[in-house]
Amino acid sequence: MTGRRKWLVITGVLAIGVASTLLSAYAGNYQVAAVAAGTTETATQKANREAVGKAKPGPWGYSGASGYTNYLGEGTGRSPAQPVKFPHPVHVNTLQMNCVFCHSSAFKSPDPGLPAVASCMGCHTITAIDRPEVKKVAEAFNKKLPIAWVRVHKVPEYVRFPHVRHIYAGVTCQTCHGQVQNMEQVFQYASLNMGWCVSCHVNGYSRAEGMRAAGYEPDSAALTDERQGVRKVASYDCANCHY
């Protein structure tokens, strides 16, 4: 080995080490490419954003197409099969149902809540009663059995995440959960790791970005805010979430 090659190898290994440390450290912290205030979204950014919304889970339950799959196992893209194949797109996009129609306590409780089986039966005693998945629901209801959904988004037990505070702050659901309205099967959209949470708390939340993340165009007030660089900053005190 010549001297030059030796030093090349040494520095190369060091550089790879540093790069992979940084990558593993910060992957998942920033997933929605922040669009600087006052500038418009580039075509790539737009394509990425839309790809995220339309992504489907991959063959191993991981969404390769989400664009943000973290290969270090932080759970992004995780998409467990659910006992009932509930089609969010049909309910949200086609039927224009709001998220809080079913997840009704999201704006009054730390806990977003899941619809009671009876809520499903409010409509499904009349509509689509012959679909196999709806039949499952009806059967559960008749047997007075709850449906055991598999949890997709979860923060650890030592984290308090009050949904109500975020809803009142104007954060769109899709900011954290992704465009569930376009997901045939819900997958974990964001890494939900601490850096990801904190980035938004520190750098602030732009309503326009949130609306774009939700898949619709920002309203004029949001656009004005964005032009003026208004971002909603939150507390990043540790005891905000950990107690």
Binding site: S191, W196, S199
Partner: protein
Amino acid sequence: MATIAYEPKRPNIASANVQLPAVRDYEQVDDEIVATLRPSKAWFLMLMTAIACLGLGVSAFLYQLHQGLGVAGYNPPVMWGVYIVTFVFWIGIGHAGTLISAILFLFRAGFRTTIYRCAEAMTVFAVMTAGLFPIIHLGRPWKFFWLLPYPNWRLLWPQFKSPLVWDVFAISTYLTISTTFLFVGLIPDIAVLRDRETNPTRKRILSFLSFGWRNTEREWRHFARAYLFLAAVSTPLVLSVHSVVSFDFAMAITPGWHTTIFPPYFVAGAIFSGIGMVFTIIIPIRKWFRLQHYVTLNHLDAAAKLCLTTSLIVGCAYMVEFFIAWYGGVQVEQDFFWNRVFGQWWWAAWIMLTCNMILPLSLFSQKLRRNPTWLWILSIFINIGMWFERFVIVVPSLSHEFEPWQWTTYAPTWVDYSILLGSFGWFFMWFLLFVRQLPIIAIAEVKEIVAPRLKRAHAHTPDNADDYEPETPGAHN
């Protein structure tokens, strides 16, 4: 050089002028030191004992890891106990090596030459042992890496104002630098071993470890420079490491900890305990390996003087602590010191005072300084005393703080003791492996003080041949 022996039987040798009269030439050095590397049955037995102790410690630690720290004898608010005591103890031990190899090198103290390798290896292994304890003592040891500054997705960094983070830096720097120092010094010696080795596999390994050292004058020149500067930079490092460790205590407001005297007091104590451990190790080694003509009584005498000096400093520090507690007039502090010496913890305090302050006074006698048996016995007392010094600092302070309602006592359990024993197993395992694999005495440096072969002049005669001790084996001519 003039002979400065006033009396042949009771020589008083300047520390800088310690010679090796019984070592005649370079070949003898090579042969005698390489000869120490043969494993023996006794060595295996000792190694197995060390590994068994280590095994016990490891099992106790695993048990503690599973059950929780509660299996150790903690008695809040005594939240630190045997582990931190042992940590400081080993860190202290780890001070002698670099002191001897670096500081005494800068001071040109000749008696360091034959003992420094041993002391330096001891340092590295002691710091390796010490470094385990802050992790063992953690409530969640698997999270220890949170103390290291590395980029992470929590976007959080260590708290750099904490003395524990200072510790992390001080100890890891110290371990790195002392390991480097040891290894750099070993390179020429490994080259010697390489050139003497006949087994091709071992030769290959040694070749690799010697980095292709060729003994050229160029190599020696840069080596000397690097060695000098490493020594120069290690000198403040040695002083800083135990100062930083003492900050763990001095930065706290706990009575008995909150004193400005701690850094010098700890450094002196560390050197004292380190020399003690050097005696504990080198005296059997010189006997078993028949190296009495390398580590001569003059060497031991000189080291014992250093030991005595540090003992006096430590004793003075104890007295100053008591004086300041009284003179400072802070009642909490006064209560605490009374309780330490005459109250609840009198036994620990008196073990400390006896072993560290009173017994070493015997070293004022040159007869005892030159008595290896006494030095060895004393060194055991010093080891015990220095362990208890740390115990006396850590435990009584915590058990007798500001809040009388929370005064308690402390009793370690078998888990504490097993892990303490395991630490000795760990240390001696490494040390035993070292003594049989690598030269315990620096070959190249010994050669430096041995007279070279000359064509014109007569062979160099030692100046102080009279100081040669009759207990040395081998011919004396």
